[in-house]
Point group: C2
Chain length 449, copies 2
């Protein structure tokens, strides 16, 4: 499927919600991401909404008011699916009704919308400042990939200097099952985990210890949600993969590197990751991303072609995504001094070795059933440059080259009180900037053991 551009991408269209028209807004009328919010008042219930500027349009409210009632059966189907406390029903009905709902929302929110629509919609606008954002979906299964060859090579050098990039890397979109229960929405504080570690130093026969991690890290990732799923035993051809993707969000895959190093052989990361994984709350749909699609990563001369089940011409030409990811850090001292967060890395999703479609198709290639609301994440998004490293492990070479903050403080890994902020956005001449919002988390001290 080639991404389709239509009037919802027209950069000249503005919204009557003025804040959506500001140049820096993540949520212009061309975006219209979905999320789940709860008004900040006692007894408020979780509702599905769409972000527009600094407001949220309450979709269940709009629907109950007849605002989404049209002659279009697809719009009705999608609107009814929004009467839920999660995006799962909307995800489950697939791409076509979602696109119809997008067009209807665009028509309601544009500056020249009929006065009646505008008045009705106004009654269901909530200020984002007056709402708490929840997880967008009940995630049945969370899968984390390892799709950046720059990340895989950098990390491989640290853990296996003799063997940085394993022989399977260029054939398989490597991934593993993550923990769904510990997915948390942006803003949730992250407790420093304790675990077993063993110094890899002088004496390899030294007993391991149990205690708070001393190598707490972030990982900048892009997540994508499954829309319509597949049945157990069925596969998803690569040419159809994008029809099964609902949209994207930011993922911070917090990692305890010392716990990881000791536990990960032979079955992979486990407790080093399962203490918390933070998500941004707004899911930007594949429709909104259409103008920013890009060719898949250009494999090197000596690289193998993807096996046939992972190759489609459309995916090679448009399976990539020109999306910037940025990670910044704010220490307690920086905050006290009124400083802005310090940018630690800026990478682009174009540089991923595997596309979202390839990850999804590979995941289902053994007949594994993907369900609406399942979350797939890309793995750390790093690029070729040192400025484009998506985790501290890479940036500080496992702590050997600390980063200096504007306060003069140094960081090998995260300290208690540090706040980590992820942002993501697409920019292209002739189009409105599309943002993912932010994904934030601050580190709490470890519990007493």
């Amino acid at each position: 499927m080639k991404p389709v551009l239509d009037e919802t991408h027209d950069s000249k269209v503005q919204s009557w919600v003025e804040s959506a028209n500001l140049a820096g807004s993540d949520f212009p009328i061309q975006n219209l991401p979905f999320g789940v919010f709860r008004r900040c008042k006692a007894g408020a219930e979780a509702r599905v909404g769409v972000a527009i500027g600094d407001r949220i349009l309450d979709l269940a409210g709009a629907q109950s008011d007849g605002l989404l009632a049209t002659d279009d059966e697809s719009v009705r189907l999608a609107a009814n699916a929004c009467a839920s406390d999660s995006l799962n029903p909307l995800m489950a009905i697939g791409a076509s009704p979602r696109r119809a709902l997008r067009r209807r929302l665009h028509a309601i929110l544009r500056q020249d919308a009929p006065a009646s629509d505008r008045q009705a919609a106004s009654r269901h606008l909530v200020a984002q400042a007056d709402a708490d954002m929840l997880l967008p979906a009940a995630v049945g299964d969370y899968t984390d990939f390892y799709a950046s060859i720059f990340h895989a090579t950098n990390v491989g050098k640290l853990f296996r200097p003799d063997n940085p990039l394993l022989p399977n890397y260029k054939y398989i979109p490597i991934g593993y099952h993550g923990r769904a229960s510990s997915l948390v929405p942006t803003g949730t504080p992250v407790r420093r985990p304790s675990g077993q570690t063993r110094d890899g130093g002088a004496d390899p026969n030294k007993d391991p210890k149990f205690g708070p991690t001393r190598a707490l890290d972030y990982e900048v990732e892009l997540g994508f949600f499954v829309g319509a799923g597949n049945s157990l035993g069925e596969t998803i051809p690569i040419g159809e993969a994008e029809e099964h993707i609902f949209g994207i969000c930011l993922v911070n895959d917090w990692s305890a590197r010392d716990i990881q190093a000791w536990e990960y052989q032979p079955l992979g990361p486990f407790l080093a990751k399962s203490f918390a994984t933070s998500l941004s709350p707004w899911v930007v749909t594949m429709e909104a991303l259409a103008p920013f699609r890009a060719p898949a990563f250009a494999r090197g001369e000596g690289d193998p072609a993807p096996l046939p089940y992972l190759f489609a011409q459309s995916d090679r030409e448009q399976g990539g995504l020109d999306l910037w990811l940025e990670v910044s850090l704010l220490s307690v001292r920086m905050q006290e001094a009124g400083m802005a967060p310090a940018v630690f890395g800026r990478s682009n999703f174009r540089d991923m070795y595997w596309t979202m479609a390839q990850m999804l198709t590979h995941h289902a290639s053994n007949g594994c059933n993907l369900r609406a609301g399942d979350l797939l994440a890309s793995g750390t998004v790093s690029g070729a440059d040192k400025t484009a490293r998506g985790c501290l492990l890479e940036l500080t070479s496992r702590g050997k080259e600390p980063v200096t903050l504007p306060t003069g403080e140094q960081r090998k890994f995260l300290e208690d009180g540090d706040q980590v902020i992820l942002r993501g956005f697409c920019e292209r001449a002739g189009f409105r900037r599309i943002g993912l919002g932010s994904c934030r988390g601050a580190i709490l001290p470890a519990s007493a053991i």
Copy 2:
């Protein structure tokens, strides 16, 4: 917590449900496992039941008839939790109400129960032959451990001859996140998965291929369900761990060894496992297992003691479980010839290096939240003897030493049409045998690619 023996374990008590009193029954009145069933008729709904002999007592029915109404608040709480289409609510309320419900069910079903109870209960008995068994719980997260040192050593020798047992094994109950979506109840056919494989033979630079696995295997495991969970950021002390376990079932962790060998580095097994994992439908509670508890595995002279967070005296003395697991195979030709399944392995859960409590406590030791209905599995249960190997990979030394069936057929790995049957049971002089029922699955040919 030391396992408590009470009148519900008294081997002299019989049931007025005659089939429960037969010597070979898995479900005497001393067992009373919980499950979710649906009558074999159109429109029937999923209901919680308890197995007694060859019958099921429909608990929602019994409750609506007032049969479970007593002065005991705990019984009422548990009975209300059974009005569900899964065991999750009953799991969530924790051990104490579950124990009260067990005592009440025992009183209703024993031979000398009041006639009124007996008459009322009779109206809610369903023949197991007239019901389909479903998954007992909606599993939020499924975690698979690797707790048999015999399995880990045997497999390690095949994959890493120079380094069979990794240095972390005796310190960490190694585990990884499994796939929850592809958990299926007993009887569900298992489609042979396709995937990437590369012959490890002559030319390691040979390109991998995509096609049906040629090394399909079973793994005999014990699963245990989380009862009351813990909040994110909290841990579960080892002395309290068993209070968080609801009960056990059989797990067949189907595995494609050739896919596994090529994909598993560095993040662990993924598609080699996620195509299907079969569960037995009856969850035998920790209460029913009380007479069969055993000391934890006796570590060797040179082995390290468990780190303090994984050690409790009660766990060392009673954390093990004397439970036999048996796997047998029935080929199409054997079936046609009217032969009985051939037993391929018989192992005992006593031989696990780590106890259930240690696995659970380790899992939550980083603050990972476990939720009611989460499934933890032990990993393949193997013993020291060749007769006690829990998978074909071990039994045939990765296909080098095929097994001969009574028909003369040979098996390196599973063939299409093979049916694999797991059974589990506890036996001890002076007590009634407690069974887990069976977990069955037959192999369907791969789909066309």
